[in-house]
């Protein structure tokens, strides 16, 4: 995936059919380039999670297509898609990110085991990543013994383990206090600049919106605003966190 056009969606749609019909994503055309640090905002139910799931192949669109580095993921088999995610996409979720029965090290190295990387190389990479997120001393700790912020740092390290081109984070700071959130964001932003990895967040957190270089606003499954740099208009910029819906 050398192209600078990293993620391209064409007329992307997702309609859920569980009893009632919900049109969660209604025709999104979007281009995300390599190295972006982008946040997707919008009220609850606007389709942020659905959109992230679609562009990472966790879910299949009802219509339209997704191209990742020029490859259409809709044409991939289950195994191909698994391997594609393993090699190219890192995930950070809101919470319960880590596998509780595995230590920090084991959580981080899991994806490398899937890739068939040998133990020595894996352990080197894990140490490097733990250093990067400032948790070298927690290598053998299980998630239950880590604080919320520490858990998310491990999750960031884990998402980066396979050196993916994209890291998708669905409300990564939702369960963290603002100080911890700020630290986590600083860290991710630095990693973004140093490694060129693309970060895409969904968020309700104004802190995230402030740090993001590009801000996409979703409303009822459509992109209603796409702002970069100084032109960003951030709801609730007065410093208080926006109310959780």
């Amino acid at each position: 995936m050398e192209d600078s056009e990293l993620i391209l969606t064409e007329d992307l749609e997702k309609t859920y059919q569980d009893g009632v019909e919900v049109r969660a994503v209604r025709g999104i055309d979007l281009l995300i380039e390599r190295g972006e640090f982008t946040a997707i905002v919008g009220p609850s139910g606007s389709g942020k999670t659905t959109f992230l799931n679609l562009i990472s192949g966790l879910d299949t669109p009802t219509a339209g297509r997704v191209l990742l580095g020029g490859r259409e993921i809709g044409n991939m088999s289950g195994t191909e898609l698994s391997d594609f995610r393993r090699d190219h996409i890192g995930f950070i979720f809101q919470a319960y990110n880590l596998i509780p029965v595995l230590t920090a090290t084991e959580n981080i190295e899991y994806v490398m085991i899937l890739q068939g990387i040998d133990r020595k190389k894996r352990r080197e990479r894990v140490m490097e990543l733990l250093d990067l997120v400032g948790l070298a001393d927690k290598a053998d700790t299980r998630p239950t013994m880590l604080s919320g912020g520490q858990k998310q740092r491990v999750a960031v390290a884990r998402a980066m383990a396979a050196r993916p081109s994209i890291i998708l984070a669905d409300e990564p700071t939702a369960n963290l206090d603002s100080v911890t959130s700020g630290e986590l964001l600083d860290m991710m932003h630095q990693l973004n600049r140093e490694t060129g990895m693309t970060f895409i967040f969904s968020t309700h957190d104004t802190l995230v919106m402030q740090r993001a270089e590009r801000l996409l606003t979703l409303r009822d499954g459509k992109i209603t605003a796409d702002e970069t740099g100084s032109e960003k208009s951030i709801p609730g910029i007065d410093g208080k966190k926006k109310d959780e819906e």
């Binding site: 289950g78 195994t79 391997d83 979720f93 319960y96 509780p100």
Partner: protein, 409 residues
């Protein structure tokens, strides 16, 4: 292997549930081991009762005697045969016997019987007729003139110890009738109804005299040093003593109905075992499904990270097998313990004993401890578990990542 690690550690996550499942599995497994032990203990008991009461582990006859039952179908060269048996390492005891159909009459009644002439010294080492004397005494020597009859026969003929009875047989060569007057010197009571009803024992020389026979016999019963020899088809003994007009048969061939009855029971326990395994495997199925539902989000995370569908299935299969292994180890220990315990104290046969194939067993049962059921049932159980785990594995392999992730805890 990371999948095994995941499976194994998840097992110890919900300790309570794992404990309950393990208890169910291990009790089921231990029950099978114990049941097996009792069954084989009973079988050995039965075989021993059958072979020790009169049958012996093997018998040698003249060819044709078993089908004709004619007095003249004798063993070829008895002295040479007994010399040879005397030298056999695996032969613990042997006893020549003379048989004839006879008519026995008392003042009260008449009955047909099987007159068997035995050499008491030899016979004592082989059968336990001498231990089953209910009144009077056993035959005292080859030319003892007394008659030892079954308890049922004594009842029919209304004979008591010391009473006289007339025995009529036909002589070997001429077929002429020959009669002799006996005194009842003993009454036996074995567990075998047929014997109690229709056998009369006499000294072997006395019987030969009545039948006009030289030093010969219709049957030589043989007792091996181990029950196992009687179960072995490949033993050279059978060939060696099936020559020159004689035929050697193992007790299995002599009492095939006993063997086939046990064969059937064996099939029944295999079937019961299978049902038990399926039930126990369902315990595993339930446990795995519960754990799968609880961890749906976690599976979503594994899927998002690029775990392939087949690998998801493998995690489930491994988790099921891990649970089975823990259950098996606990069950084996429990089964071992219970079997050992009852091996020491024995299982009492209450009251009259148990009758099986005309043989009444009154001795206690001691469960047999063999490696075989441990191996056999473990393999069977693992296979069952594997097959059953394919169902939740299939379920896990088909999980949609987005769906799994939308299930928050």
């Amino acid at each position: 292997m990371v999948f095994l690690k995941l499976a194994w550690r998840n097992l110890f996550r919900n300790r309570g549930r794992t404990l309950v499942s393990t208890a169910a599995i291990s009790i089921g497994f231990a029950a099978m081991i114990f049941y097996h032990g009792i069954f084989y203990g009973m079988k050995n008991n039965m075989y021993r009762t059958a072979t020790e009461s009169f049958l012996g582990d093997a018998q040698i006859h003249g060819i044709g005697y078993r089908s004709s039952r004619k007095v003249e179908d004798l063993i070829t060269d008895l002295p040479a045969l007994t010399d040879s048996l005397e030298a056999e390492e695996i032969v613990r005891a042997y006893s020549p016997r003379v048989y004839s159909y006879a008519m026995i009459s008392s003042p009260a009644n008449v009955s047909s019987v099987q007159l068997i002439g035995v050499d008491p010294e030899k016979e004592k080492k082989l059968s336990n007729m001498d231990e089953n004397i209910a009144g009077g005494k056993y035959i005292s020597g080859p030319d003892d003139n007394g008659l030892v009859i079954g308890i049922k026969l004594a009842e029919i003929l209304r004979l008591e110890i010391g009473d006289a009875a007339v025995v009529t047989v036909s002589e070997a060569a001429s077929g002429d009738l020959s009669q002799a007057l006996f005194r009842v010197s003993g009454i036996f009571d074995t567990g075998d109804r047929n014997m109690n009803r229709s056998v009369a024992l006499a000294g072997i020389e006395t019987a030969r005299g009545m039948l006009a026979l030289e030093e010969s016999a219709h049957e030589v019963a043989v007792d091996f040093t181990s029950l196992e020899y009687g179960l072995s088809d490949s033993l050279f003994f059978w060939d060696k003593y099936s020559r020159d007009g004689n035929k050697a048969l193992s007790w299995r061939e002599l009492a095939p109905q006993l063997v086939s009855a046990f064969q059937m029971s064996e099939n029944i326990i295999s079937f019961v075992g299978l049902i038990m395994f399926v039930l126990v495997a369902f315990v595993i199925l339930n446990t795995i499904f519960m754990s799968l539902y609880e961890r749906t989000f976690e599976f979503g995370v594994l899927l998002a990270q690029g775990t392939r569908p087949l690998q998801m299935g493998r995690i489930i299969v491994l988790e099921s097998l891990s649970l089975a292994v823990v259950g098996l180890i606990a069950g084996s220990l429990l089964g071992l313990l219970v079997t050992l315990l009852f091996q020491n104290i024995g299982l009492g046969m209450s009251g009259e004993g148990v009758e099986f194939m005309n043989v009444t067993v009154t001795t206690d049962i001691y469960p047999v401890l063999e490696p075989e059921p441990f191996v056999k049932y473990s393999i069977g159980f693992m296979v069952c578990t594997f097959l059953i785990s394919l169902y939740p594995a299939f379920h896990a392999a088909r999980l949609k990542p987005a769906r799994a992730l939308s299930r928050e805890l």
